[in-house]
C-alpha cells in the first residue's frame, strides 16, 4: 500500500477528504425532509424523552430531526453565541422566558403559525411574557410551566405542632421555631438569577413592581425596599436561613431540603419528583407541599420552558411542525408522566389535575393557582442587562455590604440609563 501511494496521490486524497468534510454538513442539510434542533436536557430521563418525541414525530410526518442536547446554562450560552453569529445551524431552539427579550429579533415570530384559539389554550401568563411588548410578536411557544410552591418537612412540622407558613410573618415565626441544632427552618437562594427571582416574588407580594406605567424602574419603591429588607433579614437578622445561602443557586436550594438539613423551601415542579426518589432524597415520605407565601398579594413568578424557531432557518415550515408537536397534547402528557412537568396547555393541565390523586393532586392545584396569579419581570429592551445589575445589587444587600434602600436606589438609576440606551423609551 505504502509503496503505491505517491506524495501527489496522498495530497490529492487529503484535499478530497477535507473538501468532503467541509461540504458534508451542507449536503446533509440539503435534504428536504430534515431539520435540526438544539434541545434542553437535565437528568437521565431527558435523552429518552426526546428520542421518543423525535421518533413519533418522524413516524407521523416523515420529517427527520437531527438534534443536540444541552443543559440549561450551556444551552443558553450556545443560543446566545449562535444568534450573535446569525447562524442557521439549528432550525429549532429550546428556550426560556428568562432571557427571551434578547432574542426578539432573532427568533422568527410564531403568531402566524398558531391560530387565536390555539394560542388561547396556553396559559396567558406564558404567552404574554414570551411576546415582544413592542411588536406583539410571539418569540417562542411554551412547552411547560415553571412556578414554585412551598415544600416542607411534614413530619417535623407535625412533631412540633406547626403549620406551613402562609404569610411573611408566619415564615419568620415558623422558621425561628425550627432553627437550631444544625438545622434551619428555611432555605432561599441568594446568588444570581435565583436571588433575583426570590426578590421579584417578594416585590410583587409587597405590592410593588419592576417598572411603572412609563416603564421607568420602580423596584426601589417602598414595597421594593420592604421586600429586600425582609429577604436580607431572613438570612442576617432572624438567621433562619443557612449563612451560605448568599452563595446558593437552585441546586443548593433543593439539596438543603432533600438532604434533611433544612425544613422548608420554595422550589420548582421538578422538586416533586426529586423529593419522591430515594436516590435523590433522604426525606422520602416525610414532606408535603403548601401554597407560596403571601404579603399584600399572593403573587410569584410563572415562567415557562419554550420552543423557538430560528429566524435564520431555511426550513421554517417543517421546523414549525416539529415545534407544534413538542407543545402538543401527546408531548405534554408524556412530559408530565416522565418528569411531572406542569403542562403549558390549560386543557392538558386540567386533565392531569383531574386524574391526579392524594398529595399530587393537592400540589398540582397549588401550582395551578400560582400560575394563574403569576407574573414575570418586564421584557423591555435592555432588561437582560438590568438583571446582571440586579444580581449584584441584591447580593450586596443580602451580605450587608449596603442597605437595601441604597442598593435599590443606585440600581434603579443605573437601570434607567441602561434601558434608555437600549431603546426601551424610543
Amino acid at each position: 500500500m505504502s509503496a503505491s501511494l505517491s506524495r501527489r496521490k496522498f495530497l490529492a486524497a487529503s484535499a478530497a477528504v477535507t473538501a468532503g468534510s467541509l461540504a458534508a454538513p451542507w449536503v446533509a442539510r440539503a435534504q428536504a425532509n430534515e431539520i435540526t434542533a438544539l434541545l434542553i436536557t437535565g437528568g437521565p430521563l431527558y435523552p429518552k424523552y426526546w428520542e421518543k418525541i423525535v421518533q413519533d414525530f418522524t413516524a407521523k410526518t416523515g420529517i427527520k430531526v437531527r438534534y443536540d442536547l444541552l443543559e440549561f446554562t450551556p444551552l443558553t450560552s450556545k443560543v446566545v453565541t449562535l444568534s450573535a453569529a446569525r447562524s442557521s445551524q439549528y432550525d429549532v431552539y429550546s428556550t426560556h422566558t428568562a432571557q427571551i427579550d434578547s432574542y426578539f429579533n432573532h427568533f422568527a415570530p410564531l403568531n402566524s403559525y398558531f391560530s387565536e384559539s390555539e394560542l388561547a389554550e396556553f396559559y396567558p401568563v406564558a404567552v404574554k411574557y414570551l411576546s415582544d411588548p413592542k411588536t406583539g410578536n410571539l418569540a417562542a411557544i411554551p412547552r411547560n410551566m415553571d412556578a414554585r410552591v412551598q415544600y416542607y418537612r411534614s413530619d417535623v412540622y407535625q412533631e412540633k405542632g406547626l403549620k406551613p407558613a402562609e404569610t411573611w410573618e408566619d415564615l419568620v415565626d415558623v422558621g425561628l421555631k425550627l432553627t437550631g441544632n444544625g438545622h434551619y427552618g428555611l432555605v432561599v437562594p441568594g446568588q444570581g438569577d435565583p436571588a433575583q427571582r426570590t426578590f421579584s416574588d417578594l416585590l410583587w407580594q409587597a405590592g410593588g413592581d419592576w417598572v411603572d406605567q412609563a416603564n421607568k424602574p420602580a423596584f426601589n419603591s417602598e414595597a421594593g425596599i420592604k421586600a429586600l429588607t425582609f429577604y436580607r433579614d431572613l438570612i442576617q437578622k432572624h438567621k433562619i436561613v443557612p449563612p451560605d445561602a448568599v452563595g446558593y443557586q437552585w441546586n443548593e436550594n433543593s439539596t438543603e431540603l432533600s438532604s434533611g438539613t433544612v425544613y422548608a423551601n420554595f422550589d420548582w415542579p421538578g422538586a416533586f419528583a426529586t423529593l419522591s426518589n430515594p436516590e435523590t432524597s433522604r426525606i422520602v415520605g416525610k414532606w408535603s407541599t403548601a401554597p407560596y407565601i403571601r404579603d399584600k398579594a399572593a403573587i410569584s413568578c410563572a415562567i415557562s420552558h419554550a420552543m423557538a424557531l430560528n429566524g435564520q432557518s431555511g426550513r421554517k415550515e417543517p421546523a414549525v411542525e416539529f415545534i407544534k408537536y413538542t407543545v402538543g397534547p401527546e408531548a405534554q402528557r408524556l412530559q408530565f408522566e416522565q418528569f411531572t412537568n406542569f403542562p403549558s396547555s390549560q386543557v392538558i393541565a386540567k386533565e392531569v389535575i383531574a386524574a391526579a390523586k392524594g398529595p399530587q393532586a393537592t400540589w398540582l392545584q397549588q401550582l395551578e393557582t400560582t400560575i394563574a396569579n403569576g407574573k414575570e419581570w418586564p421584557k423591555l429592551a435592555g432588561f437582560s442587562k438590568v438583571c446582571t445589575l440586579m444580581f449584584s445589587a441584591i447580593e450586596q444587600a443580602l451580605t450587608d455590604q449596603v442597605s437595601p434602600s441604597d442598593s435599590l436606589n443606585q440600581a434603579a438609576t443605573e437601570a434607567e440609563e441602561i434601558m434608555r440606551r437600549a431603546g426601551a423609551y424610543d
Binding site: 434578547s102 443557612p242 448568599v246 444580581f391 451580605t399
Partner: protein, 307 residues
C-alpha cells in the same frame, strides 16, 4: 557541508517545480499562516471591531465610537471589577513569587525527602482549574466545609469564607496561590540549579552569611527568571476565570468579580457583546501596560546608569 553532500541534497530536490526563493518559504508556510489568521487574528480583529459598536442581539448594531469604553471606564461595576482584579493580581503574584522562591531555595537543598517534595509540587498545576474551584468551594463552605469544621474543632470562630465580600476575595486568592505557587517553585528551582557556583563559593570563602549570599548574589542572578515568572503570572491572573466562577460566580455582590467574570456576565447574561468586548480589550491593554512597566523601568534605569 562537504561538496558531495551538498550535491546529494540538491540532487534529491531537483524535481521540485518551485525555485529556492523566499516566496517558496511563504508558500509552504501559508497553510499554517492561514489557520493562524482564521483562528487567532480574525476573532481578535472581529471582537476589537465589535467593541466600537452597540452590539447586542437587537438586530441593528449602531457605531458607538469609544462609547462602550467610556461607559465601562466610568461605570460602577467595571470599577469594582478593576479594583478586585488589581487586589487579586497584586496579592496573588506577590505571595506566589515570595513563597515560590522560599520553597525553591528549600527544596534545592540536599535534605531528606526533597525528591518526593519536588514530585508533589507538580500535582497542583496539573489539576484543572475547574476542579480546584469546586474543591475550594466545598472546603470553604461554612456548614459542611473542612476548614470551618477544623476551626470549630479547636473552638475558634467560623470564618464566612464565601459569604463575606472580603473573605470571598481572600478565598479565591488562596485557591489561586495553592494552584500556582508550585509552578513558581519549579521555575525558580530550574533557575537556581543553573546558577554558576563560583560566585557563591567565593562569597562563602569570604565569610558571607547564607542570607547575604542569597540577597547579594542569588537574587540578582535570578532576575531574568523572576521577570519571566512575573510575566507569566501577570498574563495568567488577567485571564483567571474558572476558579472564581466555580467558587463565587463573582459574588457576593460583585466582591470577586474579576474583569474576565464581568466580561462573561456582560456577554452571556446581559447579551451585550459590545461592552463585553470593550472590557476584554481594556483588560488586555492593562496587562500589556503592566508588562511594559515591568520591562521598561529596568531598561530605563540601565540606560540612565550607562549614560
Amino acid at each position: 557541508m562537504p561538496p558531495v553532500a551538498q550535491h546529494q541534497v540538491s540532487g534529491r530536490r531537483r524535481r521540485s517545480p518551485l525555485p529556492y526563493t523566499w516566496q517558496r518559504g511563504y508558500l509552504l508556510a501559508s497553510p499554517a499562516l492561514l489557520v493562524m489568521v482564521a483562528i487567532l487574528i480574525y476573532p481578535l480583529g472581529y471582537s476589537f471591531i465589535m467593541s466600537f459598536f452597540r452590539w447586542d442581539l437587537s438586530g441593528s448594531a449602531p457605531f458607538a465610537g469609544v462609547g462602550n469604553y467610556t461607559d465601562e471606564l466610568f461605570g460602577r461595576q467595571f470599577n469594582q471589577a478593576l479594583r478586585n482584579q488589581t487586589i487579586f493580581s497584586v496579592v496573588s503574584i506577590t505571595i506566589e513569587v515570595v513563597a515560590g522562591m522560599a520553597i525553591a531555595v528549600l527544596v534545592n537543598g540536599k535534605l531528606r525527602g526533597m525528591r518526593l517534595a519536588r514530585t508533589l509540587l507538580l500535582v497542583p498545576p496539573m489539576i484543572a482549574p475547574a476542579v480546584v474551584g469546586l474543591n475550594f468551594r466545598w472546603l470553604f463552605n461554612t456548614q459542611y466545609g473542612l476548614v470551618d469544621a477544623l476551626l470549630r474543632m479547636f473552638n475558634l470562630p467560623e470564618i464566612p469564607w464565601l459569604n463575606h465580600p472580603t473573605w470571598a476575595l481572600v478565598s479565591v486568592i488562596i485557591a489561586d496561590v495553592w494552584q500556582n505557587t508550585p509552578l513558581m517553585v519549579l521555575l525558580f528551582l530550574a533557575g537556581l540549579q543553573s546558577l554558576p557556583q563560583e560566585p557563591l563559593e567565593a562569597a562563602t570563602v569570604d565569610g558571607a552569611t547564607p542570607w547575604q549570599r542569597f540577597w547579594h548574589i542569588v537574587l540578582p542572578l535570578m532576575r531574568p527568571v523572576i521577570m519571566i515568572a512575573l510575566m507569566l503570572r501577570i498574563i495568567d491572573t488577567f485571564r483567571t476565570f474558572d476558579v472564581v466562577w466555580l467558587m463565587t460566580q463573582g459574588g457576593p455582590g460583585g466582591a470577586t468579580n474579576l474583569l474576565t467574570v464581568y466580561s462573561y456576565l456582560l456577554a452571556f447574561q446581559a447579551v451585550d457583546f459590545g461592552h463585553a468586548a470593550a472590557v476584554s480589550y481594556i483588560a488586555l491593554g492593562m496587562s500589556l501596560f503592566v508588562l511594559g512597566l515591568l520591562y521598561g523601568i529596568p531598561w530605563l534605569i540601565a540606560k540612565r546608569r550607562a549614560i
